[in-house]
C-alpha cells in the first residue's frame, strides 16, 4: 500500500436546488492516516459532506483536496476512494468473491492480482468460507463485513464510511466497532466516518468533527471535545447521558443556582464578572457529599435507573431550566430518557452515582459539587465562557 494521504476541505458549501444550504463553508483537514469522525444530529449535513468527498454529490463552492490533487470536479470513478454504505449496497447477483473483486476489475487489475487480494482480504475478515455465496445467503454481520471488504480490497487512498454499523444489533455493533479500530491500526488508511451516534464517534475517532445545520462546530480529539466543548451544542451533544444545564448567576466570584453557591475557579475571567450564565454539569460531575468542604446540593430522586456498577438518578432542581435551540437540537438526537429533560418546568438533572450508594426514590440525597467540574456558557450566543 502506498503512502497515506490527507484530505483537505476548503470552505466547502453545498446548496441544494430550492436554496437549502446543507453544508456551509466547512474547513476541515484530515491528516494522512487519520481516523476522522463526522458526527451530528440527523440533517446536520455530515452525510452530504461525505458524499461530496466521494464525488456522489456536486460541490456548490469550495475545494476538495485528496493528497496534493484537487478532486473537486472529478467523477467518483476518477477518485481513489472507497465507500461503505449504510445499507451495504452489495451487488445482489454476484457472489461474495465477485462483490469483493468488482472494484479491482473495474479499475483494470489483472486477474491473478485480483484473486490474490480478494483471498487476502477474505482471510483478514474471516470471509474465506463464504466466498461463493450470494449476499442473500449471508447474515447481517457477514454482509457488513463483505461491504467493508469491498472497500479494503481496493487499497484506496481513503475510506469513506456512512454509518456502516447502524444496521447491526447492539452487541454486534460493539464488536464490529472494536474490529474497525484494529483494522484501522493495521492498515493506517485515511478514513472519514459518518455517524449520528456520539458514543461511536468518541470511541472510534482520533479526532471528531461535530456538525450542526451544516456548520462545523468543533473538531478535536475525543477527550478535548468532552472536557472543553466550545459551545452549548457540543456540550449537550457529546456525553451520555447528556450534560445538565441550568440558568445561573455569577457574582462576587461564585455561581449561584437553586440556592447553592459554588466558587468559580480562580483565574477564570468569570471570577470578577457579574452576569447571567448557563451552567453545565455532567451527570458524572457530582460527588457523594462528605465532609470535604465542597458546596452541596440536596435533591429528591424521582427515577432511579439501575446500571449495575452505577445508577442514574433523575431529580428536579429548583432553578430555571435551559431550553435553547442548541440544547434541543442536541437532545433530539439522543435517546428517550434524555428527552425527560424537556417537559418539566424546573430543571431536571441526571446524576450518576456509584452502585454501592443507597438511593431510594423520594428519599433526599445530598451531593457535592466540585468547582472544577462546572461548564459555563453565554446565555445568548451559547459559546463557552470557561
Amino acid at each position: 500500500m502506498g503512502e497515506a494521504v490527507g484530505i483537505r476541505l476548503e470552505r466547502i458549501t453545498k446548496r441544494f436546488r430550492g436554496g437549502v444550504v446543507a453544508v456551509n463553508e466547512v474547513d476541515l483537514e484530515v491528516r494522512p492516516g487519520e481516523f476522522m469522525v463526522l458526527v451530528g444530529p440527523s440533517g446536520c449535513g455530515k452525510s452530504t459532506l461525505l458524499r461530496m468527498v466521494a464525488g456522489l454529490e456536486s460541490v456548490t463552492d469550495g475545494t476538495i483536496w485528496l493528497g496534493e490533487k484537487d478532486v473537486t470536479e472529478d467523477l467518483p470513478q476518477e477518485r481513489d476512494v472507497a465507500m461503505v454504505f449504510q445499507s451495504y449496497a452489495l451487488y445482489p447477483r454476484m457472489s461474495v468473491r465477485r462483490n469483493l473483486g468488482f472494484g479491482l476489475r473495474m479499475r483494470g487489475a489483472a486477474k491473478q492480482e485480483r484473486e490474490r487480494r480478494v483471498a487476502e482480504v477474505a482471510d483478514v475478515l474471516g470471509l474465506d468460507h463464504l466466498l461463493d455465496r450470494r449476499p442473500a445467503a449471508l447474515s447481517g454481520g457477514q454482509r457488513q463485513r463483505v461491504a467493508m471488504g469491498r472497500a479494503i480490497v481496493r487499497e484506496p487512498q481513503a475510506f469513506l464510511m456512512d454509518e456502516p454499523l447502524s444496521n447491526l444489533d447492539a452487541k454486534l455493533r460493539v464488536s464490529m466497532r472494536a474490529q474497525l479500530s484494529l483494522l484501522h491500526q493495521r492498515l493506517g488508511t485515511t478514513t472519514i466516518y459518518v455517524t449520528h451516534d456520539q458514543i461511536e464517534a468518541m470511541t472510534l475517532g482520533q479526532r471528531v468533527a461535530v456538525l450542526r445545520d451544516g456548520v462545523l462546530q468543533q473538531c478535536d480529539t475525543p477527550p478535548r471535545l468532552f472536557r472543553q466543548p466550545v459551545n452549548l451544542f457540543v456540550a449537550a451533544f457529546i456525553g451520555s447521558p447528556s450534560m445538565n444545564f441550568v440558568s445561573a448567576t455569577v457574582s462576587r466570584g461564585a455561581v449561584e443556582f437553586a440556592g447553592v453557591r459554588v466558587p468559580v475557579p480562580t483565574g477564570s475571567e468569570l471570577a470578577t464578572a457579574d452576569r447571567r450564565v448557563i451552567l453545565g454539569i455532567r451527570p458524572t460531575g457530582f460527588g457523594v457529599a462528605s465532609s470535604n468542604g465542597l458546596p452541596t446540593l440536596s435533591v429528591v430522586p424521582e427515577i432511579v435507573e439501575e446500571l449495575g456498577d452505577e445508577r442514574n438518578v433523575i431529580a428536579d432542581v429548583d432553578a430555571p431550566r435551559v431550553d435553547t435551540d442548541a440544547t434541543r437540537a442536541a437532545v433530539d438526537a439522543q435517546t428517550a430518557d434524555d428527552a425527560l429533560l424537556l417537559p418539566a418546568e424546573r430543571a431536571r438533572f441526571t446524576i450518576r452515582v456509584p452502585g454501592d450508594l443507597p438511593v431510594t426514590v423520594g428519599e433526599p440525597l445530598t451531593l457535592s459539587i466540585s468547582p472544577d467540574r462546572l461548564y459555563f456558557f453565554d446565555p445568548d450566543s451559547g459559546t463557552s465562557l470557561s
Binding site: A54, F85, Q86, Y91, P92, A137
Partner: protein, 280 residues
C-alpha cells in the same frame, strides 16, 4: 364483540356465496374457450351448430391437420417477426429506463413524457406516412420493415416498464458501483441488467403478444409471402362458408406461442432478485 361473533358465524355462508358467484362468472367468460376446444377436437363430420356445446364423441386431430399447411407459413413469419421485435425492443427499453431512472441527465423529465406519448398514438393515425417511410427505405419487401416498426412501437411501453423497475432499486447500489470505478455502461451491464429479469419478463411478454397479435401493420407493410399468422387466420375464418372446426383449430394453434411465452417467462416474475443487497 357480539357483532364480531355474529359476523364470524355468518362468515362461511357469505364466503361460499361469494365464491359461487365468482365461479359462475368464471364459467361465463370461459364459454368461448370451451367452444374453441371442443369444436377443434371433434371429428370434422360431427361439427354442427346444433351440437356445438356437446363434448366430442371421439377425439380427432383432423381439423389441425387440415389447417396447418395453410397456417404454417404465417406461423413461421410471425415467429421471425415477434422474437427479434420483443428482444431488441426490451434491450433498448432497458437502456432507456436505466438512464431515465438512475443516470439522470438534464432534461430527463422532459424526454420521458415525450417517449411515453408514443404509446397513445393509434396505429391507424400513422399508417400511411409509416408505409411511405418504410417503402422509401426499401424495407417493405420482407419482414425487416415490420420488425423495425414493432421495435419502435414497443419502446414507450418497454421504457416505462424498465424505468419503473429501475426506479425501485436502491440508489446506493448504483453509487457503490460508481465509487467502485464503473461508468454508465458498466454499471448498466454489470449491476443493473443482472437484477432486471423480472422487468424483462414483463416487457417481453407484452412485446411478443402485441407483435404476434398485430394484424394491421402486418397486412400493410409486407407482401403476401411474408404475411404474419394473423392475416392467415383471417383468411381461413373469412372464407365464404365457414368451416367451424378449421377456424377454431387455427385460432387455437395461433395462440399457442403467446401462451408458451407467458408460461416460460412467467417463471422470471420471481421476486427476491434483490435479496441480500441491503441491510441485514
Amino acid at each position: 364483540m357480539t357483532t364480531r361473533t355474529a359476523r364470524r358465524a355468518r362468515g362461511p355462508y357469505l364466503r361460499a356465496a361469494r365464491y359461487l358467484v365468482l365461479f359462475l362468472f368464471g364459467c361465463l367468460f370461459l364459454l368461448p374457450v370451451y367452444a374453441l376446444l371442443v369444436t377443434s377436437l371433434k371429428d370434422p363430420a360431427s361439427v354442427s351448430v346444433v351440437t356445438m356445446w356437446e363434448l366430442p364423441g371421439k377425439l380427432s386431430m383432423d381439423s389441425f391437420r387440415a389447417v396447418w399447411p395453410k397456417l404454417q407459413n404465417g406461423f413461421v413469419n410471425s415467429l421471425i417477426l415477434a422474437i427479434p421485435a420483443s428482444i431488441i425492443s426490451s434491450i433498448l427499453g432497458a437502456a432507456n429506463g436505466f438512464v431515465l431512472a438512475k443516470w439522470r441527465f438534464p432534461g430527463a423529465d422532459f424526454v420521458f413524457p415525450v417517449i411515453l406519448f408514443g404509446m397513445f398514438i393509434p396505429y391507424q393515425a400513422i399508417l400511411i406516412p409509416m408505409f411511405r417511410v418504410i417503402a422509401s427505405m426499401g424495407l417493405n419487401r420482407d419482414l425487416s420493415g415490420l420488425i423495425l416498426v414493432h421495435i419502435i412501437y414497443g419502446l414507450p411501453i418497454t421504457t416505462l416498464i424498465f424505468r419503473s423497475y429501475f426506479a425501485s432499486i436502491s440508489e446506493e447500489l448504483i453509487e457503490a458501483a460508481k465509487v467502485d470505478g464503473a461508468g454508465m455502461l458498466r454499471t448498466f451491464f454489470f449491476v443493473a441488467l443482472p437484477i432486471a429479469p423480472p422487468a424483462f419478463a414483463v416487457a417481453m411478454i407484452w412485446q411478443f403478444t402485441s407483435a404476434w397479435n398485430d394484424f394491421l401493420f402486418g397486412i400493410v407493410l409486407t407482401r403476401t409471402e411474408y404475411w404474419p399468422i394473423t392475416v392467415a387466420l383471417n383468411n381461413i375464418a373469412g372464407a365464404q362458408t365457414v368451416p367451424f372446426n378449421e377456424a377454431m383449430a387455427s385460432a387455437l394453434l395461433a395462440c399457442v406461442p403467446t401462451v408458451l411465452v407467458y408460461v416460460l417467462l412467467g417463471r422470471f416474475f420471481m421476486r427476491g432478485l434483490m435479496a441480500g443487497a441491503l441491510k441485514g
